[in-house]
Amino acid sequence: MSRLNDYDKAVETYEPVLGLETHIELDTNTKMFCGCSTAFGAEPNTQTCPVCLALPGALPVANKAAIEATVKIGLALNCHIAEWTRFARKNYFYPDMPKNFQTSQYEEPLCENGYVEVAVDGVDYRIEIERVHLEEDTGKTLHVGGATGRIHGATESLVDYNRAGIPLVEIVTKPVPGTGALAPEVAKAYVAELRDIVRSLGVSDVRMEQGSLRCDVNLSLNKPGEEWGTRTETKNVNSLRSVERAVRYEVRRQSALLDDGVKIIQETRHFHESTGETSPGRSKEEATDYRYFPEPDLAVMEPSREWVEELRAGLPELPRKRRERLQATWGLGDKEMQSVVNADAVGLIEATVAAGTTPTGAVKWWLGELSRRANEAGAELGALAITPEQVAELQGMVDDGRLNDKLARQVIDGVLAGEGSPVEVAAKRGLEVVSDTGALEAAVDEAISANPAVAEKIRGGTHAAAGVLIGAVMKATKGQADAGTVRKIILEKLG
């Protein structure tokens, strides 16, 4: 375990420079260079053919839908689309590719020089995109004999080539300086924005938990005014929260080394979801020389300008525009909308409103109680076991006076525990506001006789004193009364 600096101290002394490499699996029907299906979850090695197994004589042909999807991504990221572009072989020996090379792109990527704008704490950051290129995914390797499925202690590896050859888009940023202490938040905001952009294009389901969006985080530190430091590349960062944690951890770890006068080694590191730590992988000094060369089996591509403009004209509403529209529709202020974005709740709230509740009600639950639950569980908001429809149902019960907020929180307990929909949980657990006015009136009478001085004050016009009596009634009804109704009864009796 590495010595770590306090984060706030670290960013007082050092300036982080970020870099992000993101891989996105496209959801085409077939693989990049052959007609094998890409369906998820098939039996091992049932989606392979001579091309993706690299049998002698097999010839690849590029998937048009994958090229089109990549151009769309490039356009949405404000990139220049190459007039002339080709594939290249990246040579390496590793059993995850049966060919002993991966078909990728080298000096002539499909898209170059774009940018994405993200806002963190009301400040806009422009993340420059170096390139967007197309390549193919590798097979899945299972390490056996080891304790954890990892390579250490493994005696052999088992390979499934179903994933080998699935179109994979790689998006590389230029180095991002100037984020200061906000580097972790900017990195997370960028990946979230990228994910939302690609999702809006409908070319990938971009699910980090399923590996269809994977992220490598580069980070270096330097003192103000000095040259950029040596960077590390952290792999295996597979959730938005992890992106933030990985950056934070590397800032703390690298700054402690630099404080001690230790040089940072350029290396690949692995992120560990359970601990939030990174550990060294392969050192770049011994990294493979990939001996790229132009792929002779595939024709060069010349995307026509007419076609590119056609695709540009057909782009859907992008997330930034969509957020602006939703913010206006929902009537939220900038700060509140920023909180919604930070909590990754735009889609959740949109779906909740669509399910029939007010924007205020939807925002209240997702940013309040549910965000708290997600934090406690260390999970993403969208991973909570409650759907937007259920949140709308819950708020509907509050609107109808069947639940108060306190009871609603208990209903959430039940929904998250898998006990059913809010209506079902309320019925099963007997959670319902006491609407029997007779019972409430009796409880109010009791509270009045138990607190004569307070009652006298209210009679005298000090309505604020009613809080004491409301509290007493709530206690007597175990929280199952509606505070508004109780207040009304008290004021009627003493008004």
């Binding site: 390579i151 392969r282 001996r291």
Partner: protein, 99 residues
């Protein structure tokens, strides 16, 4: 004197996963030299204003529609593997990288 060194030949051999003896290093260095010399003849051609190509035939934009085709039966696929287990290709453990 070869322009390509023994160390370079050793490096290339390592990248290509070839085992090469000390004697072979010298022999290959000499042979690779001859090849490089021959290629230099090509470098004398004036290629200013000529776009690089990777093909002898002037084909561009050869694409395939995104329609699934049948894959090979798994038995046939695994029949070509040196070793199998759990319907997968079995290979020796890989040392230089963590998965």
């Amino acid at each position: 004197m070869s322009t390509i060194s023994r160390e370079e030949v050793a490096h290339l051999a390592r990248l290509a996963r070839l085992e090469v003896t000390d004697d072979e290093l010298d022999a290959f260095a000499g042979q690779l030299d001859v090849i490089l010399e021959s290629m230099k003849t090509l470098a004398e051609v004036d290629t200013d204003g000529v776009q690089p190509t990777s093909h002898a035939v002037p084909l561009v934009n050869v694409f395939r529609e995104d329609r699934p085709q049948p894959s090979l039966p798994r038995d046939a696929v695994l029949a070509g593997a040196p070793d199998t287990a759990e319907d997968r290709f079995r290979v020796p453990r890989i040392l230089d990288e963590e998965a």
